[in-house]
């Protein structure tokens, strides 16, 4: 496997991303969107597409930049630092990875449009308050030559602003699940917006006897996982990278504050009680950084055996991001609790990202299972 040190290309990509996002999408950008009641900035996404970010996983033959999962992680991490909101994870990482598993003309067309930034996707899995793909109940009843989808999905991230949705449906008993690729404007599909604590787009989606044909299936009937598993793992790894970036963004704010804020006549960073907590947090972020890079490398070089690496990354990222935001608010004191200050945005995003695509318990259980528990 390629070394667990960033390559020169990865370092250059990170620098370029940091430069661009620092101007185009600092935290104040998210704040401005929230104050306007918006969740996405389509101009920002168009610029990202121009830089090849939307096509980061799209093959060059479909107009993508095909940089790979470690590179997608580098981008997600930089986005996490300033809490950038965009269709990157849902569309460029998850949907693109799913579509790539299917080599037909329709999926190639979708990949082209993803790379151009002209088509966006959401992923609809959850039906309860937790991520549990195996427990999917939303039914796709066979009817004539096609199916009718009946049921409801929750916590569909980016669902309010996307063109299409990948929806996991039950086509039989046991493990017979099928992944459908459906436009949101299809008759019978309706969305209920959820005002999320992280100021981002998430909806509930109701499927009321929605007609689907075999053409709407991504992959094969009764075999969702061949397509969905790599897509989920790509998404989980990139989300973990985003959370690692979030943790280091929050941490940087906190360390800066420890040096500036004076009480008792000295910078509060001179107090050992805070120094040791800050140092501990840094140590945790270093260990998590490794797990993120490792997951990207596994997805690029040994994708069939990446589950352990991906779950390890997501579990570690959740633990570290949550510690970073808790310490971030506490060490900032009163100002950390105010809406006018940015730390709250980090805390809220960490909470949402922790739940999306599997929480700590889900991923730690995956690790345990694969390690012989």
């Amino acid at each position: 496997m390629t070394k667990l040190v960033r390559t020169e290309e990865e370092t250059l990509l990170a620098d370029a991303a940091r430069g661009f996002l620092g101007d185009a999408a600092p935290v104040s950008h998210l704040r401005a969107l929230r104050d306007k009641g918006e969740t996405q900035d389509s101009d920002l996404w168009a610029q990202m597409a121009q830089m090849g970010w939307a096509g980061v996983l799209v093959p060059e033959t479909c107009g993508g930049s095909e940089m790979g999962h470690a590179a997608a992680g580098v981008l997600a991490e930089e986005m996490g630092k300033t809490l950038v909101t965009s269709p990157f994870l849902s569309t460029a990482v998850i949907a693109a990875t799913a579509l790539k598993q299917v080599a037909n003309d329709r999926s190639k067309e979708s990949l082209k449009q993803i790379a151009q930034g002209t088509m966006t996707y959401a992923l609809a899995i959850d039906e309860s308050s937790k991520f549990q793909p195996d427990g999917t109940a939303l039914a796709a009843h066979r009817e004539g030559n096609g199916f009718r989808l009946e049921g409801q999905k929750r916590f569909v991230v980016d669902g309010g602003t996307s063109d299409r949705v990948l929806v996991l449906a039950r086509t039989g008993d046991d493990k017979s699940l099928t992944l459908f690729d459906i436009p949101f404007d299809r008759s019978g599909v309706s969305r209920v917006a959820r005002p999320m604590i992280d100021s981002r787009d998430a909806v509930d989606v109701i499927f009321d006897r929605v007609e689907a044909t075999g053409d709407d299936i991504l992959g094969s009937v009764d075999d969702a996982m061949t397509v969905l598993k790599p897509a989920l793992e790509a998404g989980q790894a990139a989300l973990a990278a985003e959370m690692a970036g979030l943790a280091s963004g929050a941490f940087e704010m906190t360390v800066t504050y420890l040096k500036e804020r004076k009480q008792f006549g000295v910078p509060i960073g001179a107090f050992q009680a805070l120094q040791h907590r800050a140092a501990h947090l840094w140590c945790e972020t270093e260990v998590t950084t490794t797990a993120i890079l490792h997951a990207g490398r596994k997805l690029d070089e040994d994708p069939g055996n990446a589950t352990l690496a991906v779950s390890l990354a997501k579990a570690r990222a959740i633990q570290t991001a949550q510690l970073a935001v808790r310490e971030g608010v506490q060490m900032h004191g009163g100002i950390g609790m105010t809406d006018a200050f940015d730390m709250g945005f980090y805390m809220k995003r960490a909470r949402v990202a922790a739940e999306w695509l599997g929480d700590y318990g889900y991923h730690a259980a995956q690790v345990a299972k694969l390690r012989g528990f």
């Binding site: 910078p267 260990v287 345990a368 012989g372």
Partner: protein, 386 residues
């Protein structure tokens, strides 16, 4: 000259030398503490093969492969050293000699010693003839090492040493000690320390082993009562011994953190839990074990990352404090887990798990406490004041 061809040639010659010279009994890898050859005047070889292996390696300079030939080494380059370790592993050969002389005094002398000192002290280390121990900590100087008080007075034609050292590993078996002593009581504490070499057979040197909560240990107390030391046995400049000490402390931490022995490695916790009667059904233990497994795996990868980083020429630097802190804290958690999972089975001294558990408590104290590591990170990495 083609460097790559040179290396290939080097590897072939080394391989055939190892195959011809490494005794069969020495090809069982690192088979535990009992197989270590520490050397020294009083060393009892565990087998004739152990002595043969040591002597043959020493003759080639391969007990200290990177030291210059003039001082008993083989003068290997970094690339050659890597090949040496690869070929040793290929044969599963034991390390012929291990000692504090090799790990600590050697690097210090090579950096700070005079030519005479290097010629006098290094070759006997390389040949395994002289065994060294380290005298740093004192009863009143632990984390605040620079507060050490062992007195070293200039008596004209000799130094006179009085005081006490503690945690001197294997002092009762060592031939010589390298120690930090106070040569100027009036200077600021970091500026009055010297690095001195003392023959343990000198009149006035006594040692006493320390029994730990985990049982017998290599640690000793070492006492100096009016010990006379020749004037040429100070390394580096008088009163600038702290520079030598700092250099060695960083060296030691990198060694501890790269060692892995203290670092929680070992069996996956799932297996440990399955063997216990209640482990998998106790939700608290199961959840702690799952968290620990996540953290341990990520830490093992982090050790790998820093090895990769070192190999690509980026130093580990102050991150060694992070590795030491995280690794030793994880190891303590791991042994707590092992004990909890084993229940009363592990409470019998003869079971062996309890001494291991108790011994891990020292991991986050020896070589710099966890709190000192956090202070290093806080000041040198984060740049926090104070």
């Amino acid at each position: 000259m083609n460097g790559h061809l040179d290396l290939k040639d080097f590897r072939e010659k080394l391989r055939s030398w190892l195959e011809q010279n490494c005794p069969e009994e020495m090809r069982d890898g690192a088979a535990g503490d009992d197989s270590i050859c520490w050397g020294g005047k009083n060393w009892n070889f565990t087998s004739p093969a152990q002595k043969t292996w040591l002597d043959r390696c020493a003759e080639q300079g391969l007990t200290v492969p990177t030291w210059p030939k003039a001082f008993g080494g083989a003068g290997l380059s970094r690339d050659q050293e890597k090949i040496f370790h690869e070929e040793m592993r290929r044969l599963n050969a034991r390390t012929p000699l291990q000692s504090f002389g090799i790990w600590m005094l050697g690097p210090a002398l090579l950096q700070f010693g005079t030519e005479e000192q290097k010629l006098r002290y290094l070759p006997p280390i390389a040949r395994g003839e002289v065994r060294w121990c380290q005298g740093y900590s004192e009863p009143g100087a632990g984390s605040d090492l620079a507060g050490l008080q062992t007195k070293c007075e200039d008596k004209g034609d000799h130094w006179l040493v009085n005081g006490q050292k503690v945690w001197t590993s294997y002092a009762d078996k060592a031939d010589w000690i390298f120690a930090l002593v106070r040569t100027d009581r009036d200077a600021p504490k970091h500026k009055g320390i010297s690095f001195v070499l003392i023959d343990m057979e000198s009149k006035g040197v006594t040692t006493r082993p320390i029994r730990l909560i985990s049982g017998a240990s290599p640690f000793c107390e070492t006492f100096f009562d009016d010990v006379q030391v020749p004037k040429d046995q100070v390394v580096g400049t008088v009163n600038r011994g702290w520079d030598v000490a700092k250099y060695l402390l960083t060296h030691e931490r990198e060694m501890i953190s790269a060692g892995g022995a203290l670092m929680g490695g070992g069996r996956a916790l799932g297996a440990v839990l399955k063997e216990s009667e209640t482990g998998l059904s106790d939700p608290i233990q199961l959840s702690e074990a799952m968290r620990l497994e996540v953290d341990s795996l990520a830490f093992e990868l982090t050790l790998e990352r820093f090895k990769d980083q070192a190999e690509s020429g980026q130093g580990v630097g102050d991150a060694s404090a992070m590795l030491k802190y995280m690794g030793t804290e994880l190891n303590k958690r791991r042994l707590e887990m092992v004990m909890a999972a084993a229940g009363s089975d592990a409470l019998d001294w003869n079971d062996g798990r309890a001494p291991n558990w108790l011994r891990t408590k020292a991991n986050s104290i020896e070589g710099g406490t966890s709190e000192v590591m956090l202070s290093i990170v806080s000041k040198r990495v984060l740049g926090l004041p104070g």
